[in-house]
């Protein structure tokens, strides 16, 4: 049904992997815009920290960048291709081919093992599978490699994901986001459920792996203390003209 082969990766010769331009988005049945963004660019391999208090549209922005929702006006382009120009089917395939995603928590499907969770993007996208096999020897090989890099011991690899601690789960999620070397990794407050030591350790690993994979990282958080580790800091309330403190994202 969904053939992922015809979603070829455009030669990322462009200067930006992600580019938002004049984006306005309003949720259905909402009276006002949630996102009103003049422009936002992310260069290949760049690590961007987007800061904002809760309720300024962070999650909505990430959904727009990932093409899960499309703006009413303006355009969001991933690898020089506008999400709005793709059909819904193609958007889903294009997303899994080029974007890795890390949630705040509950990233993993509890009924799959750790390894199966990590391999999932390669199962759903031939592009990701091909990337994984070109880099490592096999999907399984790259999954194991990433798990080792994220410092997950071999003995947990075959456990059901639900048996892991929150910190371990987040590291598995990072490994899954990076398998098949997607051009962009979107992270939605992935450290907010970790304590300070674990947060720093997780960030170290995540940034190192993203650098190694040449993946751009868009990291959204309300926690300014970690911002200095990123190459660029953006303040979403300044960026988003529709942001009002009382609105709930």
């Amino acid at each position: 049904m969904v053939t992922m082969t015809n979603i070829d990766s455009p030669q990322s010769a462009g200067r930006h992997v992600l580019e938002a331009c004049g984006v306005r988005f309003r949720w259905p049945r909402s009276p006002a815009n949630c996102i009103d963004l003049e422009s936002l660019q992310v260069a290949p391999g760049e690590h961007v920290f987007i800061h904002g208090p809760s309720g300024c549209g962070k999650s909505t922005l990430l959904s727009l960048l990932a093409g899960v929702i499309v703006p009413q006006s303006g355009s969001v382009r991933l690898l020089e291709r506008s999400w709005s120009a793709l059909s819904t089917w193609d958007r889903d395939a294009y997303r899994v081919a080029h974007v890795g995603f890390i949630f705040q928590q509950f990233n993993l499907l509890p009924y799959l093992s750790v390894l199966e969770n990590v391999e999932l993007p390669c199962r759903l996208s031939r592009v990701r599978a091909a990337n994984a096999q070109a880099n490592g020897s096999s999907t399984r090989g790259q999954a194991e490699e990433l798990l080792l890099e994220m410092q997950l011991e071999r003995e947990v690899w075959n456990r059901p994901a639900s048996m892991l601690s929150v910190g371990q789960q987040q590291r598995v999620a990072a490994a899954r986001a990076l398998i098949g070397l997607p051009e962009v990794v979107l992270a939605d407050e992935p450290t907010s459920s970790l304590d300070e030591d674990r947060r720093n350790a997780f960030l170290d690993l995540l940034l190192r792996v993203c650098t190694a994979a040449h993946s751009a990282l868009v990291f959204v958080s309300h926690d300014l203390r970690i911002a200095e580790r990123f190459q660029r800091l953006l303040e979403l309330p300044a960026l988003n003209r529709a942001a009002a403190p009382e609105r709930v994202a």
Partner: protein, 420 residues
């Protein structure tokens, strides 16, 4: 796509406890619907086959339902009897294979007493042509001997050799008693699930004998014939209530019916038992429809249960759906997954229900037959039952589309927010 199907299976297995509740509720509603429908059609069948093998019931002219009511169900009383000479004329008809005269009017502890000939036990059939079988003892032989139906024996605790006294008339508890001429129980019939079970059978001559010294429904004052003297009288009945007639050739039944209707000596009528029974069922079949209504309600409730179970688990699944979304599943994939899951639940539940009916009904069949006299058929599902199963299946699937549609909406509006 294959991956999504595998994921759906793994996900469903992960939630197997909750899902098995939904399956169970579907199975239960299928079981009840099909089971009740089976019993309903069997009750109808049993009723329609209260008499079989009898081609014509002949009696004094009255309504066909009335004739069947007293001749088959021994309910109510005949307004008119038919003469014995007419019975003899009928037996002499070349088309007639056998006749069984029956005489009603007396009772024992509320159970009707049927005077008849030994031919009754030879020719009477019920169900698919089953003959009467003795559970104990044998046919009446002497004059004051009685054969009891299974219900009579069980309800009153009679055994072979017990003595019973008949009452004159039916219904009223203060009936005059035939105390001077008690009967001895010589046989008890096996249960049939027909009015035979509730009947006391004696010979026609015995009916005649206990009424020798009666007139107008009471003993003649100052005139009594002792039991050992009755044999000196002619005990051939003057009248009987009705005659069961078997024909040599069933095809002749309408011609015979016309001959009976045109009988010169007295006004008679013949009814086809099946036709009259069907007519009677129209009246008393309301209970049958009530059963169907009840089982439909049961099915509706359990389908509502299915929707509730799936909807309740949907909130927990919003995170799972958001993960799938982030991994490239479209809203339509989500819709498909839930619809598929619903179809699977509905199918599994219905199959379990049908199998349960197929296994359980034969298992309890013998018990139901001996306890309630209801013969459960072991046949393949009737078209109505197949329709019911299809209805449960369809309704179950449609019910599962409600949560599926909600999940579809969620996956559209949630975006990638996994925090619910």
């Amino acid at each position: 796509m294959k991956t999504f199907l595998r994921l759906a299976a793994r996900s469903a297995w992960n939630r197997r406890f909750v899902l098995s509740l939904a399956v169970l509720s579907i199975a239960l509603s299928t079981f009840l619907l099909v089971g009740i429908e089976r019993i309903r059609s069997d009750v109808h069948e049993n009723f329609a086959q209260s008499v079989s093998g009898t081609d014509l019931i002949v009696g004094a002219r009255t309504g066909p339902v009335q004739l069947v009511l007293y001749a088959v169900f021994h309910i109510g009383a005949a307004t008119n009897n038919m003469r014995w000479t007419s019975v003899e004329a009928l037996s002499a008809d070349p088309a007639v294979a056998w006749t069984v005269p029956i005489s009603l009017g007396d009772s024992h502890q509320g159970f009707p007493v049927l005077g008849t000939t030994p031919a009754y036990f030879e020719h009477f059939r019920y169900g698919d042509g089953q003959p009467l079988v003795f559970r104990a003892g044998k046919l009446f032989d002497g004059l004051f001997e009685a054969v009891l139906g299974a219900d009579v024996a069980d309800a009153l605790g009679y055994r072979l050799g017990d003595h019973i006294v008949l009452s004159h008339g039916i219904g009223n508890p203060n009936l005059p008693q035939h105390t001077d001429k008690p009967f001895v129980v010589t046989g008890i019939l096996a249960r049939t699930g027909t009015p035979v079970d509730r009947t006391v059978h004696v010979s026609l001559a015995a009916i005649e004998a206990i009424h020798l010294d009666w007139q107008g429904g009471a003993p003649i004052a100052g005139f009594a014939i002792p039991a050992d003297m009755v044999r000196k009288f002619d005990l051939t009945p003057k009248t009987v209530t009705a005659v069961l007639v078997g024909l040599k050739n069933r095809a002749a039944v309408f011609a015979m019916q016309r001959r009976v209707a045109g009988f010169k000596e007295e006004p008679l009528m013949g009814v086809l038992p099946g036709v009259a029974l069907d007519e009677l069922w129209q009246v008393i079949g309301i209970g049958e429809r009530a059963l169907l209504v009840i089982s439909t309600l049961v099915a509706a409730v359990s389908l509502a249960g299915l929707v509730a179970v799936v909807l309740a688990s949907l909130n927990e699944r919003r995170r799972e759906l958001a993960i799938l979304r982030a991994l490239g599943a479209g809203p339509r994939h989500i819709l498909l997954l839930l619809a598929l899951e619903g179809a699977l639940i509905a199918t599994t539940g219905t199959v379990i229900g049908v199998v349960a009916v197929a296994v359980l009904l034969p298992a309890i069949g013998p018990l139901v037959l001996t306890r309630y006299g209801l013969a459960l058929s072991l046949s393949a599902p009737t078209p109505t039952q197949q329709l019911l199963v299809a209805a449960v299946l369809g309704a179950g699937w449609v019910a599962s589309l409600i949560p599926a549609y909600r999940a579809y909406r969620y996956s559209l509006i949630d975006g990638l927010t996994s925090q619910v």
